[in-house]
């Protein structure tokens, strides 16, 4: 026997059985865990294979990309392949409707401004996000009407549009100022001007804003666009206009209706409940029909309301009733202690609502609000039934074009992808937002 101490050396652990790791292990666990599962996997795989190859075959492999008209497509591949030239030719119309070709840049500029207006909301160091968001909802439509509709405006309208322009200038100036110096635009101007005290600084800030407004007024009153009547608006552009206005209107209106429904005042509650329940229980198409046939009756003789406006009024009222129910759900989820604490601090109704309740409630409601927006975006297709040329109507018009007669499936496929991309991105963004905002609540 040697004196060497006995040292315990553990045998290295066995590697896991090869059937439980790697691709094989994953497949065993997730695809072939039991006989029924294996059958399901094969069945699902087969269905997937058939569907995907059919679509790819039709849309890409056998598709025709160059042809003068549908007859040529049919002669080449018959119905087994897609006939894309018709869709490609119609893409400008699908996007802009019958908007004059030489004016289309106005739409592009309008949407670029919208994007630029919204970008600061995602920039980390910008503090005035609430003001920027509010100005986006309330003042951007003014600027948008200036670009999209154009035409000669009266004094009041010019002044309002200038307000929109000034707001846009302010948004970017204040964004840059806050990112670079951590000060708002007005405060920065006051600092640069060497204001002695707060009172003077405030006055200089307002002066700077007034200067912006005068600048915008000068530009707007000098620069006039040709009028493009709403009759020729169409395509994706019209879809976005209707859903955009619907969204912008329904959020504040929905908040007011929901507050009214929860109000202690019986009369206000009755009005709000009636409105909400009436508009929620009938289909959107009946409301569109009603406004289309009856709005001219409701208004004094001689007042003309164009078709687009009728549709927009209907969509706005419909969307606000749905939004009201979502907001009510959010308000109900706030514990009563929050209301009581706000009251104990001496806050009045509007103060406690806007400072304590709504900020918390809105955070809970974000997923449902985005869901409502998606629904609204999809529902705008209904305006095609009352004769507006939205994306869906335009895509049906392709098949009524004499050269592409009967070409329906391809444009439908194309706009389905457009709708899907928009709605899917919105829903994924909402999921992402929900996850991020919920971070603080998670335990």
């Amino acid at each position: 026997m040697s004196d060497a101490p006995l040292v315990f050396t553990p045998r290295p652990a066995d590697p896991p059985p090869p059937s439980t790791i790697g691709v094989v292990g994953w497949m065993r666990a997730n695809l072939f865990s039991s006989l029924p599962n294996a059958i399901l996997t094969f069945l699902g795989g087969y269905i997937f294979y058939v569907v995907v190859t059919t679509i790819i075959d039709w849309a890409l492999v056998k598709a025709v990309w160059e042809a003068e008209n549908r007859r040529q497509c049919l002669d080449l591949v018959g119905r087994s392949g897609a006939c894309w030239p018709g869709v490609v030719e119609w893409i400008p119309n699908l996007i802009y409707g019958l908007y004059p070709k030489d004016q289309v840049w106005r739409i592009n500029i309008g949407f670029l401004i919208l994007l630029a207006w919204a970008v600061p909301l995602w920039l980390p160091r910008v503090k005035s996000k609430v003001a920027i968001g509010l100005s986006l909802v309330l003042l951007y439509p003014l600027l948008a009407s200036y670009f999209f509709h154009g035409g000669a405006q009266g004094v009041v309208w010019t002044a309002l549009i200038a307000l929109g322009g000034a707001a846009f200038l302010w948004v970017w100036l204040t964004t840059l100022a806050e990112m670079r110096f951590g000060l708002g635009f007005g405060a920065l101007v006051a600092r640069l001007a060497g204001a002695a005290d707060d009172e003077r600084a405030r006055r200089i800030g307002w002066g700077a804003l007034a200067a912006l407004y005068v600048l915008a007024l000068l530009v707007v009153s000098q620069l006039r666009f040709v009028e493009v009547p709403t009759r020729v608006w169409g395509g994706l552009f019209l879809t976005l206009v209707i859903s955009g206005i619907g969204i912008a209107f329904s959020l504040p209106a929905g908040v007011l209706l929901a507050l009214g429904r929860r109000s202690q005042m019986p009369l206000i509650r009755v009005f709000c409940v009636t409105f909400i329940e009436l508009f929620r229980s009938v289909p959107l198409i009946t409301i569109l029909f009603m406004f289309n046939t009856m709005l001219p009756l409701f208004l004094p003789a001689g007042v003309e309301v164009n078709r687009l406006l009728r549709a927009i009024v209907a969509v706005c009222l419909f969307a606000s009733a749905y939004m009201a129910e979502i907001v009510r759900g959010g308000l109900q989820a706030i514990p009563k202690g929050q209301y009581e604490a706000a009251a104990a601090m001496g806050l009045g109704f509007w103060q406690s609502t806007s400072l304590i309740i709504l900020p918390q409630a809105l955070r809970i409601m974000i997923p449902s609000i985005v869901g409502n927006f998606i629904g609204l975006f999809k529902d705008t297709t209904l305006v095609s039934i009352i004769g507006l040329f939205d994306l869906l109507s335009m895509s049906r018009a392709v098949g009524e074009d004499t050269r592409w007669l009967g070409l329906f499936i391809e444009p439908f496929f194309f706009i389905t992808m457009i709708y899907f991309v928009f709605c899917f991105l919105m829903s994924q963004y909402s999921l992402n937002l929900e996850r991020r905002l919920g971070e603080g609540q998670r335990r």
Binding site: L40, T41, Q264, M265, I268, S281, L284, C423
Partner: protein
């Protein structure tokens, strides 16, 4: 604090008659509430009065009438598909009934298919099989993120309108035929003595219900289970079948057959109906699938584990433990999806299926010009359905709430 409470001397006394100052009056909650309500009332009533007076003036100018007297007048147009009998000379009120019947038909059939498909997809979404789960997820994502109207129109123009001519109909087992004029089924024609079979069916259903109640009570009292579902199904199937055969099979089938350029006989539905049903049930099934998934996931996993620990079989765990709890979460949104489906069936107008909105709010309105009564009746119908269903739903909610602790 304890000094303050209890001793009568420390109770704060209000002045006997508070002097009425303007500030106190204006800031009084009741006064303000009355004031706000009065303002709202005046605004709303003023707005309504303004609209109504404009409408009356406009209608007088255009020579329109708002009365319901047109309901008895003959409508004078034909309707492509009617569930209840309708002839061209029938009155406008009959048109209204036809529209309601067609809408309800679409709603009921759509709801049945949507529920089945939604249940399957919801369970597939929870499958342990990765492929099935992923396929179900993309099925749901793609279909619920595209507009329903687009789907309806695509099914109509892209599928059901492109079906072959009647002469080259697609033959589904020699029973059902599909062509570009619609779908054709054999129609049952009851002969003398068929009423007996129907009676047997009613009796069997009643028996199954009684059996189910008895089995449930026995399970609760003694713990011994009885396969009441299976027995009930057998009863409902076999009893009428026996009576049917015993009474000499008094049922004839009216088979659709190709005569000339089209099928005659049997029961037929137009392509628009097929497109509408397919699109509505597929679209709604996505939402139902998500509801089913959320409902099942809402039952905490501890329930399953507890059942396993008590030795409950997996199949019974699902039936007696998971489903009853999930149902509470599932039923209310499910009903509201059925309501959505009913409302969405109004999109039939885009493909020319004669539902309520199409025959009533469109054709009849354009022909008779009675905008106000027609709009009111249409909205009244949808409101009645919606409010009626939510009333029942509220009752149900109250019932399941009582069972909670």
């Amino acid at each position: 604090m304890s000094q303050l409470t209890g001793s009568p001397s420390s109770v704060i006394r209000r002045p006997a008659t508070p002097p009425m100052r303007l500030g106190a009056f204006v800031n009084d909650a009741t006064v303000r509430s009355v004031f706000y309500q009065a303002v709202t009332f005046v605004c709303v009533v003023g707005l309504i009065w303004y609209l109504v007076s404009n409408t009356i003036t406009n209608m007088a100018q255009r020579g329109m009438s708002a009365g319901f007297d047109f309901l008895d007048v003959s409508a004078g147009f034909n309707i492509a598909f009617t569930l209840i009998p309708y002839r061209e000379g029938d009155s406008y009120f009959r048109v209204f009934q036809v529209g309601i019947a067609n809408t309800l038909l679409v709603a009921v059939i759509g709801a049945v298919f949507a529920s089945i498909l939604g249940l399957v997809m919801g369970l597939a979404r929870l499958s342990t099989n990765w492929l099935i789960r992923t396929l179900a997820r993309w099925y749901i994502e793609i279909l619920r993120n595209t507009p329903l109207l687009l789907q309806i129109i695509a099914w109509y123009f892209g599928v059901f309108n492109l079906l072959p001519l009647p002469r080259a109909s697609i033959d589904l087992g020699g029973v059902m035929y599909l062509n570009n004029r619609g779908a054709y089924f054999p129609a049952p024609v009851a002969q003398e003595g068929f009423a007996l079979t129907l009676l047997a069916l009613v009796a069997a259903v009643a028996g199954a219900v009684v059996l189910h109640i008895w089995a449930k009570r026995r399970l609760r009292d003694t713990g011994r289970a009885f396969p009441s579902g299976l027995a009930g199904a057998a009863l409902i199937l076999l009893l009428p079948l026996l009576v049917f055969l015993a009474s000499g099979a008094p049922l004839a089938w009216d088979w659709p057959a190709l005569r000339g350029f089209n099928f005659r006989g049997g029961f037929s539905v137009p392509p628009a109906f097929c497109a509408l049903i397919v699109a509505l049930s597929i679209y709604t099934s996505c939402f139902i699938a998500e509801i089913v998934r959320a409902g099942i996931q809402s039952v905490s996993h501890g329930q399953t584990e507890a059942a396993r620990a008590l030795g409950v079989k997996p199949s019974r765990t699902m039936r007696f433990i998971i489903l009853p709890q999930a149902m509470r979460v599932i039923i209310p949104p499910l009903i509201s999806q059925y309501l959505n489906l009913t409302k969405n069936s109004s999109l039939a107008i885009a493909i020319g299926f004669p539902d309520l909105v199409s025959v009533w709010m469109n054709t009849s309105l354009n022909q008779s010009g009675r905008a106000i009564p027609i709009v009111a009746m249409t909205m009244g119908f949808y409101c009645a359905v919606s409010l009626g269903v939510s009333f029942v739903l509220n009752l149900y909610n109250r019932r399941i709430l009582l069972r909670e602790r």
